[in-house]
Point group: C2
Chain length 240, copies 2
DNA sequence: TTCGTTTGTTGATGCAGATCAAGGAACGCG
DNA sequence: CGCGTTCCTTGATCTGCATCAACAAACGAA
């Protein structure tokens, strides 16, 4: 998990090249992007954007995990989205975001200045189209999360969360078992799935006791029985 | 609330003309739309689209209320979106939806055949842009709903729900008090805000007892004290 | 109008998960 | 290596909402 240096990276060598907003750009468009981009890293815990702050940049997340969160009057918070590599932060035409964006782990962004980026969007239809796809993917994910938050039990929530990490392939393979890196603390997980940190801890250990997962260190989960895990999500089978 | 006849309506007379996907269309584009559109109505309770069904049409919702819902293995359901007049159903490039779309009240759609509509989107950038805006608005709404589902109490959920109906102006004015038409039953409301119908009923009556709202008939709420209602949502003041 | 069906209210009880509390393990830093 | 801090676990208790149950009100059809 060493942080490679991105500073002088060419777009053609970019690890998220094929999935990010630039996925279908040709060489010409890439060089336009090269000219307006700059890499910036944030340490874990740093605020990347404040809610309401005008955005001079939009960005692709290149490495690490960031979270979008909203806060109620009395301080209760809810994480409303996880940004993983290739996700896009900020939208053309929108000057600010309505949530805080925080670096959950160390994060590297590929930032584009807003104005030139918006010009690029205006005259390259497939970039606009790719942005639309990314937005619709986020909308789908948000709707699945609404089911989780509104209707799932604590156990189902935990299973769904782990399964999501598997799906979005935050995984290594260690021998023949799947190993998932947890990008966040129990408290942050709790905020994401609408529980308290104590309940998160209890459910993790209960799944461990049943042999569905193994816990090694604070930030690693081994998937011992993927079928059982998916069974435990409560989702309709064909959704998985 | 009489259903006017839409069958022969011209786009220029359309009640959602200024907010729907066609908001910024010029006369030429409108006449292209006239040629590919057809109105269709659904009775309350009818399924408009099934999850997984290939969509031959996309549509603007002209009148009534529809809901998007997802179902778990064992039958628990969660409404993941309310479609109100001017909302758009279906996306270019996406062949199916991942939820059921049901008419909550009697619903009228202005349907467009997919293929010609996609061609229109391809060669009119501001239609694509409007679709993007509509999608981002839905995404914002979905995120607010995640906070509601994950972190709000039953009372806050009910207050937020009523406040949303006020905001999206499903309101009449009756003398000097605001009257909100409830488009759905207690059971459907419960499914939308992640509660049971009994809890919904209790919270309505508790807000009534406190003089925040009045209930007249099954489907009408008077807003007696809007400030108290907003206070009860739990939202950060500047969000409202 | 009357009857049947759907929808809503209200009460009693139970339980999943929150809250409160204390200690233990992992990690970073001098 | 030891120490302080952060993060995690585990137990005890509490409570908000679900669940179960019965009835009442509204509505629609004949």
């Amino acid at each position: 998990m060493d942080q490679p240096s991105f500073v002088n990276m060419r777009c053609t060598e970019c690890p998220i090249r094929h999935r990010a907003v630039c996925a279908r750009c040709d060489d010409d468009e890439l060089s336009r992007l090269e000219n307006m981009k700059s890499y910036k890293t944030f340490d874990a815990g740093e605020i990347i954007f404040w809610r309401g702050q005008p955005l001079d940049y939009v960005a692709s997340l290149v490495d690490g995990v960031a979270s979008l969160s909203k806060t109620l009057e009395d301080g209760r918070t809810q994480i409303v989205g996880l940004m993983l590599p290739s996700d896009f932060i900020g939208r053309p035409g929108r000057v600010e975001v309505d949530f805080d964006v925080t670096a959950t782990t160390k994060v590297t962004l590929c930032r584009f200045e807003r104005k030139p980026f918006e010009r690029l969007v205006d005259d390259t239809p497939h970039v606009a189209q790719r942005l639309m796809e990314l937005a619709l993917d986020e909308l789908d994910a948000a709707r699945d999360w609404m089911v989780l938050l509104g209707r799932k039990t604590a156990r189902e929530k935990i299973a769904t969360f782990i399964n999501m990490l598997v799906q979005r392939s935050l995984t290594d393979t260690n021998g023949n078992t799947l190993v998932v890196d947890l990008p966040m603390t129990r408290d942050q997980i709790a905020n994401y799935i609408g529980l308290t940190l104590e309940t998160v801890s209890r459910q993790f250990n209960s799944l461990k006791k049943e042999g569905v997962i193994g816990l090694s260190g604070r930030k690693q989960i081994e998937i011992m029985d993927l079928d059982a895990l998916r069974e435990a999500t409560g989702d309709d089978a064909i959704l998985i």
